[in-house]
């Protein structure tokens, strides 16, 4: 039970939240780039919040399923097609054995996610995570990106059926900034903002920057005005978090992401608020970027608000919906009527007279 990869797409990998606890040994945490789209994909098929998904970049894979299941696709717009028919994103989709799912080149966004109900694709856990670490060749599917002809297994027995399947849709997230769009990223200043001049900080917070083609799972390099330092941006190497904004000596920001090196020697002027990182990750090259400072308290309020939103959404998608036929529930509701009818049929029998 699983799917066969007919076309692997561009850097299609298995990812989960990431591999934590080994950064002190030099392992990048890996994990999904767009944590929001990832979370919603798993939510839509009622998987756990840390279950593994497929992540793909710019061009999605074509997969042939060898069993019935339910899937959800989130992230950038990859125009999913099943057996030649458009199926839409951000919703639970029923898959039949033999179905072919084609994901196209992304019309918007950069990264897409595919979740399979029943706990996601089945790959061994390495050091506490199923994320692929391409550099170390560990985790995910044999420590590498998927290739044509690969067979990726998953478990289906728990997923024959999701109650209220038609309600499993989220329409709030479908839009991404188009090319030449503009995103505002909220940042928490530090840890090395003191290394920059007042003018440098003003440039950073006041001017427009732009995403470039130098964008990958390691980091996004921005173009724009030079952010001025007091006396160079070299520091004694220290640890780097997801979303840290490094300013190397050329003064152009680099935002460090999932496959970042664990330590680095450039000053970090600020860190993007966690809830805003998906906006950057999905921004195509050429997107305008501005930075707005917020306090650590505001940033953590945003994290909590998003967690609340997630639990609300998780409940919302499980509600009964019009047009949703649930065989189990229908059977349960009909049973008393059928029993009543059969009893009545029994008792009414005497009124029926046979032809004499």
């Amino acid at each position: 039970m699983g799917f066969t990869v007919q076309k692997a797409g561009m850097c299609t990998t298995v990812q989960d939240k990431g591999r934590f606890g080994y950064m002190d040994s030099g392992f990048s945490p890996s994990g999904v780039m767009d944590k929001r789209a990832y979370r919603l994909a798993n939510m839509l098929v009622e998987n756990g919040a840390n279950d593994p998904v497929l992540e793909f970049v710019l061009a999605g894979p074509t997969l042939r399923f060898t069993t019935d299941t339910i899937i959800a696709i989130t992230g950038g717009d990859f125009s999913p097609v099943i057996n030649g028919k458009h199926v839409g994103m951000y919703k639970a989709i029923r898959i039949r054995r033999g179905d072919i799912l084609q994901l196209d080149a992304a019309r918007s966004g950069m990264f897409g996610y595919l979740a399979v109900a029943g706990g996601g694709v089945l790959v061994p856990e390495v050091m506490g995570s199923r994320s692929t670490n391409l550099k170390c060749e560990i985790g995910g599917y044999q420590g590498r990106a998927l290739e044509n002809g690969d067979y990726v297994p998953f478990v289906t027995h728990t997923v024959d059926y999701l109650a209220n399947l038609a309600s499993h849709t989220i329409d709030s997230d479908v839009e991404f900034p188009k090319k030449d769009g503009k995103i505002e990223l909220r940042v928490i200043m530090g840890p090395q903002d003191q290394m920059f001049t007042t003018k440098g900080i003003e440039t950073f917070l006041g001017e427009d920057f732009e995403t470039t083609a130098h964008s990958d799972r390691m980091g996004y390099r921005l173009a724009g005005p030079k952010v001025e330092t007091v006396s160079g941006s070299d520091i004694i190497s220290d640890g780097i978090v997801f979303g840290a904004i490094q300013i190397p000596s050329d003064g152009k920001p680099i935002i460090m992401l999932s496959d970042r090196q664990t330590t680095g020697g450039y000053a970090k002027i600020a860190t993007i608020a966690s809830v805003d990182i998906p906006k950057l990750v999905q921004a195509r090259p050429g997107t305008k970027v501005t930075f707005t400072p917020i306090s650590i308290y505001e940033a953590q309020d945003l994290v909590r608000a998003e967690a609340k939103e997630f639990s609300k959404l998780a409940k919302h998608i499980k509600r009964p919906a019009r047009g949703d036929v649930s065989p189990r529930r229908t059977a349960r509701r009909l049973t008393p009527f059928l029993i009543k009818q059969s009893v009545r049929a029994d008792t009414e029998r005497k009124w029926i007279r046979t032809k004499e």
Partner: protein, 241 residues
């Protein structure tokens, strides 16, 4: 223990120690990291010690900024530096020279020493692991004897074998994985500092010491077989400083 807490986004704080690379700072950081390991403060997901800082990542849904600062100060500010007297040493057997260490003659010539002297100097002291980074299990070692400092290759090799022991400028270290490398390779260890399938994937951590132990080609072959069988037991020592 003296440090300042800096904000590193909404899910991490950075403890900055004195910004000077020294054994004292390194051991303070190791001590802080060890204490945090023992305390197991709920919400902490990763602790990354570096030369002069300790990055602590946490889940803000479990513990918020003020709470974590409070917990850190409560547990770290009063740490008694007396605890620093123990030294954890990992022995790394190395076969020097020959096919294992193609650059050892260069290092010897450059230093004006014999190959045997280079080997004796290289394994004559324990090296403190200041931090791990670059590759999984790649240790930044401090304290290489200045007599055998050697310039890097002009053009890096596209591949060195896992276990390669090299000298790059004033640094020495061991490559845990096959990697492009510009260091002068003087030997190779049959021991794998990094093995993702082992219970302890990395043999050492920042703050430990590495002791290189010279071995013969025969011993190398024997250990190599044991490592492949999973029967090799690495030697871990604990000594007073």
């Amino acid at each position: 223990m003296e440090y300042t807490i800096k904000t590193a986004g909404d899910s991490a704080v950075c403890l900055e120690f004195e910004q000077v690379i020294s054994e004292k700072t390194s051991s303070s950081i190791r001590l802080a990291a060890e204490s945090l390991g023992k305390l197991a403060i709920p919400g902490i997901v990763d602790v990354v010690p570096t030369f002069c800082a300790l990055l602590i990542s946490y889940d803000p849904l479990v513990i918020d900024h003020d709470q974590i600062c409070q917990r850190l100060n409560a547990s770290l500010l009063n740490i008694d530096e007396v605890d620093l007297k123990i030294k954890h040493i990992v022995e790394i057997p190395v076969c020097y020279g020959g096919e294992y260490g193609p650059d050892i003659d260069f290092v010897a010539n450059h230093a004006g020493l014999t190959v045997d002297e280079v080997i004796a100097i290289h394994c004559g002291r324990d090296y403190l692991i200041d931090m791990l980074g670059f590759l999984p299990g790649f240790a930044y070692l401090g304290g290489l004897d200045p007599r055998i400092h050697s310039p890097r290759l002009e053009a890096p090799r596209t591949r060195v074998e896992p276990g390669a022991v090299g000298i790059g400028g004033a640094q020495t270290g061991i490559y845990p994985l096959a990697s492009p490398a510009g260091w002068r390779i003087i030997g190779n260890s049959p021991v794998r500092p990094y093995d993702p399938d082992r219970e302890k994937p990395i043999l050492y951590k920042a703050g430990d010491y590495i002791r290189f132990v010279p071995i013969t080609a025969e011993e190398y072959a024997r250990i190599e077989v044991e490592v492949a069988d999973g029967t090799y037991e690495c030697t871990f020592l604990t000594e007073g400083v």
